[in-house]
């Protein structure tokens, strides 16, 4: 059974239909890249998978570990092992990083009938992951993303992913706004997370991040549909030609 099975998914944001029939199969252990120009529906797909309010599925299906993902509340998707690294992580002054993450870990553990972690156990887990992302001790006592630079926010997303250990991680434009050093740190964090029982979906406009997180499969999303799929070489082809060569079927058929 595939970890994620998207079938002919259509979705709208407001009154506008953005996804017009996306089909995608992701198996455990794989890394997929979804590439596309602005407005192609990449972020909509990522947000639909996470259950963001305002993103409304209007057709097709999404099965995650065989279960109907679209019927689940956002918090239950997280508890079942789905993680979205946000393109724009939200700043929440007054909520400490450490506290927030411990609440999240324990909410997930409660759902799975696992014993909650106390502060010491939690710190043991967190310390290793912090080193991985090059975050220092002071980071934990800061408010969640509050006043963080773009790079710090993205590192925090991957840090959260490392602590929550999802089965399916969707990275929504995690490379945007990162300089090359930050990109390497983030990519290294993601690569460390690659595992047989985990799948990672990298949503990106640019091929650059894929030099560091090498995907098994690349899909090109244009105007709400996947118009081409292939291996890593497809990303390099896009880098040379841009997205012009991948017009949407609808656009191609118009005069």
């Amino acid at each position: 059974m595939a970890l994620l099975e998207v079938r002919d998914l259509r979705a709208k944001v407001g009154d506008k239909e953005i996804l017009k029939g996306v089909t995608l199969t992701v198996n455990a252990g794989e890394v997929h890249a979804i590439m596309g120009p602005n407005g192609s529906g990449k972020s909509t797909l990522a947000n639909i998978l996470a259950g963001r309010p305002g993103y409304e599925p209007i057709g097709g299906s999404v099965r995650y570990e065989g279960k109907d993902l679209l019927a689940m509340k956002p918090e239950n998707r997280a508890r079942e092992g789905v993680f979205l690294a946000f393109q724009y992580p939200v700043e929440i002054p007054g909520v400490g990083n450490a506290y927030f993450l411990k609440s999240a870990v324990n909410a997930i553990r409660r759902y799975r009938n696992e014993p909650e972690l106390d502060a010491m156990e939690f710190m043991d887990i967190v310390n290793d992951k912090m080193k991985l992302l090059g975050l220092d001790e002071a980071f934990l006592s800061r408010s969640l993303n509050d006043g963080f630079s773009g790079g710090e926010k993205k590192r925090n997303e991957i840090f959260q992913m490392a602590v929550l250990e999802p089965r399916l991680a969707v990275l929504d434009e995690t490379d945007s706004g990162l300089d090359i050093d930050a990109l390497k740190v983030v990519a290294n964090g993601v690569n460390t997370m690659r595992a047989k029982d985990r799948a990672i979906v990298v949503v990106t406009h640019y091929q650059r991040i894929l030099n560091y997180i090498v995907p098994d499969f690349v899909h090109v999303l244009v105007d709400g549909r996947i118009v081409k799929s292939g291996g890593q070489e497809l990303a390099h082809e896009l880098e040379r030609t841009g997205y012009q060569g991948f017009e949407s079927p609808a656009a191609a058929s118009s005069p």
Binding site: A50, G51, R52, P53, K73, P74, E75, R77, A78, R79, F83, L84, F86, P89, V90, I92, P93, G94, V95, G96, Y99, F100, L101, S103, A104, V105, A107, I108, Y111, S143, Q160, L164
Partner: protein
């Protein structure tokens, strides 16, 4: 009904009878002070919505009600067990307890006070050492400050007298606790506090107003805080009246050269609440922090007025009031900072933020600056909004329940003010109060 026509007549006749029964034996200066309060109140009467300072708060329910003066209540044996939930005796510091406006020595605890520090009942002080009181009482909270301050001056009963001599630092907080009990006829009490922090002294004072029953009554309190040169006062006011109660309070802060004051106003109870904080810089280099947190639900109405007079140069004030409004409640912030003509190098900042938790809650925010000097740094700002849906989704996407996410965001909003609270007793009560308004109390205990 004739008596509804003008409540002033009722207060005048009440004054006459109290004068005969109680005030007659008082020192002449106090009788004159009372008389000036009564005269002022008779002149102006209860404010109406037409008064700019009272535009947002209709006090007609107070004006209409015939209250029994709490001086007529006997010390009706309120047990220490009933007071304990409101008391801070398990924390460090002394505590003065007043029941229905009257000092209750058996419920009070005085301990660890440095030599020369005087803490006790104002009424007793007036009897024993009137000359310690006379130069201060009514000199700062003047009868023309507002009609309720005038009324308090006419009818003042008792309250705390705190005097810290020059150069003395009081290590532990002094807690003043006013509790009100149910009485079949609504009662009125006029607590009056006098805090004197002389030159280079330091003291922390908390004032709490707590309803022990869910009854209707009226608390009309005035506190005068006189802070000498280089002295430091940390002041807290916690308002936890019955939700059927009326609470009107005036705090008058007078700051001499180089003094430092922080005031934290924490308001949770009361049906109709009006709180005035007036501060006057009387010397250069003074520093004032005013923090407020008001949390309302149901049909509560809480009106916060602050007035800061930068009358002297090179003083700093910063002000942050935050409201959390739920149900059909209404919260008002009306701030005014006046920078006088010669008050150059003034630094003043005023901020009000409101969080609306229901579509029927209402926030009015009226920040204000009047600047008559030209070399100053002044800033004010105001925001009112609901919980950020993006933030709720972000927290849910990490596995938190929607309810927990909302509670967490409300606590996070409150935190900016909560973090300013440095008195353990206040911090503890604040946690309980915030938790009582929201589920997921366990979250807050870890967060705050």
């Amino acid at each position: 009904m004739a008596e509804a026509a003008d409540p002033r007549a009722r207060y005048a006749s009440e004054f006459a009878s109290l004068e005969k029964e109680f005030y007659g034996s008082e020192p002449e200066w106090l009788r004159a002070l009372r008389r000036s309060g009564l005269d002022r109140f008779q002149n102006v009467g209860f404010p109406t919505l037409k008064d700019e300072q009272w535009r947002y708060t209709n006090v007609a329910p107070i004006a209409k009600q015939r209250f029994l003066s709490a001086v007529h209540l006997q010390g009706d044996g309120v047990s220490i067990d009933r007071v304990r939930p409101a008391s801070f005796t398990q924390f460090e510091g002394s505590e003065l307890v007043f029941v229905n406006g009257r000092y209750a020595p058996k419920l009070s605890t005085l301990k660890d006070l440095p030599g020369g520090v005087r803490v006790g009942s104002l009424a007793k002080m007036i009897v024993w050492e009137p000359r310690a009181v006379e130069p201060y009482l009514g000199r700062f909270a003047k009868v023309d400050a507002n009609p309720f301050a005038a009324m308090n001056t006419a009818f003042l009963q008792d309250g705390a007298f705190i005097e810290v001599p020059k150069g003395v630092a009081v290590k532990h907080p002094l807690h003043i606790l006013f509790v009100s009990t149910f009485h079949p006829q609504p009662t009125v009490a006029h607590p009056r506090n006098l805090i004197l922090a002389h030159e280079e002294s330091a003291v922390t004072v908390t004032e709490s107003y707590v309803g022990l029953d869910e009854g209707a009554y009226f608390t009309n309190a005035v506190t005068e805080a006189v802070v000498g040169p280089g002295a430091r006062l940390d002041h807290y006011k916690l308002q936890r009246e019955s939700e059927k109660a009326f609470h009107v309070g005036t705090l008058q802060i007078h700051q001499e050269r180089g003094s430092v004051v922080s005031d934290n106003f924490l308001s949770f109870g009361g049906g109709l609440v009006r709180n005035d904080v007036n501060a006057w810089f009387n010397g250069e280099g003074g520093d004032l922090s005013l923090f407020g947190l008001y949390s309302t639900h149901g049909t509560q109405h809480v009106d916060n007025h602050t007035l800061i007079d930068h009358a002297k140069p090179a003083c700093s004030s910063r002000e942050l009031y935050k409201g959390i409004l739920d149900g059909r409640s209404r919260g008002i912030f009306y701030g005014n900072i006046v920078v006088h003509k010669d008050a150059q190098k003034t630094n003043a900042m005023q901020t009000n933020k409101n969080l609306l938790l229901s579509k029927d809650a209402l926030a009015d925010s009226i920040p204000g600056l009047q600047i008559l000097a030209n070399d100053v740094k002044c800033k004010h700002g105001s925001t009112t909004g609901q919980l950020d849906e993006n933030a709720i989704f972000y927290l849910r996407s990490r596995g938190l329940d929607p309810g927990a996410a909302r509670a967490l965001l409300v606590y996070a909003f409150a935190r900016e003010v909560v973090d300013k609270v440095r008195v353990a007793a206040m911090h503890a009560v604040l946690s309980i109060q915030l938790a009582s308004r929201l589920p997921y109390a366990e979250i807050m205990r870890e967060v705050l």
